[in-house]
């Protein structure tokens, strides 16, 4: 159905919606000088009081990075990044690391409160101790620029042997675990942005779930970029030991700025025998304004290794922010009968660009993977689904099902689907389905005739389109994600 010219005008009028999280917090920061060289790498490592092996690892990565070139195969366009024109370390200025939340700068806490994060430990605890309170609690690790500010709920988790802390803390307290697994899924030679991350990563979360333990609450990291001209290079490592289970949520926001900011994170997941990791992301970085000025470059490497038999890794992502998204959460299905899942909603509006998808590498016998990707494009946005399904010779009985649906709003946006399929085992079964649709004027008029405003109608229709993915999110975040879907597309009707 062709869009009415009036509706397209309305889209233009409203798409320039305000970014709700565009405030900055006035805190003195401890900032490294601009630029990148071996001294900066050493500076970061020294700030973190890191052991020699980690510094060496960073330096090896840095030297490899110098020989690498930025990837150009993604369907995104941006002016060259000057890697010397950014700060690689910024920390809120504090004399000593806080021992409890009471010692955390109230400005910081106020910022998180504005973001709606349940950081105050006592409040959360109050919600948990009441036995009639059904809603599961959430433990939050908040990363403000490069430093993990506070980790709630630590004591309660410790009782069960669960480790949930800043990765810099894990380096100090659990060096054996970090040394064993860091870089074991995403090696320091992996790709341009991941290698850069290895050299300069500042903080991030570390999770270890011991054998047979089912983590009783959602673990969550809330990232926020505050400092201007700061790259955020967080590093997350999650290890689920045999027979354990964990659900982890990552949420991201950034203040509104005219410059582009680089966010090059690495997330590594390791699932051993019979373990399950569910990793959910709600990404709402500042997308830039309607003309495409400013916004975050979200160049992220996320990969999970299903190392053990019957292990499972499930990625769920709702990507509504960032000027450019370059991200392919992947699963290496090494253990026999292991399962990989990728559920994605990506929304691009105005001038946003996204090249996102997944890789499912089937190595073990009877490995299974499911890919459900829902892309929504509005305004002048361009979006690409890029996915690889690879079946190696020994993956007897491997199965994959891929479903890629695109929804276009207006007539100036684009959606592209680039599936790569490589099968080297005859017994493998691979299915790929793809659809492209537009929100029709008939649907909009039908909703409006029932009293629903145009904006709410778009939100309703898009939420219906994404339902299969949104239902995979933990309950507490599903509602937030639904609202975010509406906000990201405010007025974008066609």
């Amino acid at each position: 159905m062709a869009a009415q010219p009036e509706t397209i005008d309305q889209v233009r009028a409203v798409t320039e919606q305000k970014y709700k999280y565009g405030f900055t917090t006035d805190i003195e920061s401890d900032v490294a000088p601009k630029g990148l060289n071996e001294d900066i790498v050493r500076f970061i490592s020294a700030k973190k009081n890191e052991p020699e092996w980690l510094l060496e690892w960073r330096l090896r990565a840095y030297r490899v990075w110098l020989t690498m070139e930025e990837p150009e195969w993604a369907a995104v366009q941006f002016p060259p990044i000057d890697y010397q024109d950014a700060h690689y370390y910024a920390a809120p200025k504090q004399k000593v690391r806080p021992k409890s939340l009471d010692e955390v700068d109230p400005e910081l806490l106020a910022t998180y409160a504005k973001l709606g994060i349940p950081l105050r430990e006592q409040e959360i605890l109050a919600g948990v101790e009441g036995s009639e309170n059904k809603s599961p609690a959430i433990a939050v690790d908040a990363v403000f620029d490069s430093v993990s500010v506070a980790t709630t709920f630590k004591a309660k988790l410790e009782e069960m042997g669960i480790i949930f802390c800043a990765i810099s803390e894990a380096v100090q307290k659990h060096p054996d675990l970090v040394k064993k697994y860091l870089g074991s899924v995403v090696p320091y030679t992996d790709n341009y942005y991941a290698t850069l991350n290895c050299a300069v990563f500042t903080d991030g979360s570390f999770v270890y779930i011991p054998k047979g333990v089912r983590c009783p609450m959602e673990l969550s990291t809330y990232f926020r970029i505050n400092q201007a001209n700061t790259g955020q290079f967080e590093r997350t490592l999650i290890i689920a030991d045999e027979g354990s289970y964990v659900s982890y949520l990552e949420g991201c926001t950034a203040p509104q700025r005219d410059e582009n900011q680089l966010h090059a994170a690495v997330v590594e997941l390791v699932a051993l025998d019979n373990a399950t990791i569910k990793y959910s992301t709600v990404q709402n970085w500042y997308p830039g304004n309607a003309e495409g000025v400013g916004g975050i470059y979200n160049f992220v490497t996320k990969r999970g290794a299903c190392r053990g038999k019957n292990s499972k890794i499930s990625w769920t992502q709702v990507e509504t922010g960032s000027a450019i998204t370059w991200k392919y959460p992947s699963c290496i299905l090494q253990g026999d009968n292991s399962v990989g899942e990728f559920y994605s909603v990506a929304i691009t509006n105005n001038r946003q660009q996204a090249d996102t998808g997944t890789k499912m590498i089937h190595i073990g016998k009877n490995t299974r993977s499911t890919i459900v990707s829902k892309g929504i494009s509005a305004g002048k946005a361009q979006q690409t689904y890029r996915g690889l399904v690879k079946i190696l010779p020994k993956a007897e009985g491997a199965r994959n099902h891929t479903q890629c649906d695109s929804l276009l709003i207006g007539d100036q946006c684009g959606a592209h689907t680039v599936p790569y399929i490589e099968s080297r085992n005859r017994s493998a079964r691979i299915e790929h389905e793809a659809t492209t649709a537009k929100i029709s004027d008939d649907q909009l008029f039908y909703c409006r005739q029932r009293g629903i405003s145009e904006e709410d109608a778009v939100s309703l229709i898009v939420n219906g389109f994404c339902k299969e993915v949104l239902k995979e999110l933990p309950m507490e975040f599903a509602v937030e994600a639904q609202k975010l879907v509406g906000i990201s597309l405010e007025g974008s009707v066609g």
Binding site: Y446, R448, Q449, G451
Partner: protein
């Protein structure tokens, strides 16, 4: 009271309505009959405010307000309801969700408190039961995979929930067999009330056996060319639209 005066409208640059006059008082049921291309569906879309239907002259006064100045959703909130000839499918959106969003949007517009989940479900159960519909239909996505009869019943349910002051039924009989038609007509009749006006648009007299109108109007070539009581419908059934310069057999 709804007063349509000298209403002219264009679609794709073509004049379709050429001076429609019609007055509908609270509680009255008016039927609009007419041959294909007379402008029946255009009239319903113009009243509901669909984009692309351009009013070139005339007015519609709705309980003292200028209906044509309102957005479609405002008209809906003011109590205008259009039962669609071809109800639209909305994949992934449960009927319940759709109805709840709709009723709360209208309540908000009227300055009434929004219904919470429990209140809404209670209301929905009552209405569903009264129409003899199954709960299963409520869980399905709006009109997706519905039979012709189910779609029209679903329109009736929406009307029952939204409780309009002025309901326009556009070719509600199209695509229905006689049993489905009876069920839908029963639903509509149950919604007749002294405060609620209805405009029933139909090509065939058959529907009017079940939804008996107070007045019947013949719309031909964009104008109301004859008005009368319910007997006019029977007359049309016998003689066709020939008397109005339209030969449908041609």
């Amino acid at each position: 009271m709804i007063e349509i005066k000298n209403l002219h409208a264009k679609v794709d640059g073509k004049d379709i309505l050429k001076g429609v006059d019609l007055t509908i008082r609270p509680g009255e049921v008016h039927a609009i009959m007419g041959p294909n291309g007379a402008g029946k569906s255009t009239l319903s879309y113009v009243l509901a405010g669909r984009d692309g239907y351009e009013v070139t002259d005339g007015s519609v006064t709705y309980y003292g307000k200028d209906l044509l100045a309102m957005e479609p959703e405002e008209r809906a909130a003011e109590g205008v309801f259009l039962a669609f000839q071809y109800p639209v499918e909305i994949p992934g959106v449960a009927n319940t969700t759709f109805l709840k969003t709709a009723i709360n949007a209208t309540r908000k517009h009227r300055g009434e408190k929004e219904l919470d989940a429990m209140q809404f479900l209670k209301l929905l159960r009552e209405k569903t039961k009264a129409l003899g519909m199954s709960d299963e239909m409520l869980k399905r996505a709006v009109n997706v995979g519905f039979s012709g009869g189910e779609k029209k019943r679903n329109e009736t349910l929406q009307m029952a929930v939204l409780e309009p002051k002025f309901a326009i039924l556009d070719e509600t009989d199209s695509g229905l067999d006689i049993d489905a038609l009876k069920i839908v007509a029963e639903g509509v009749n149950a919604l007749r009330s002294p405060e609620r006006s209805m405009l029933v648009i139909t090509h065939y007299q058959r529907l009017l056996d079940y939804i008996v109108p107070d007045y019947v109007h013949v719309l031909a070539a964009g104008r109301v060319v004859k008005s009368g009581g319910k007997d006019l419908a029977l007359e049309l059934e016998k003689n066709g639209y020939r008397d109005f310069g339209v030969d449908e057999a041609a």
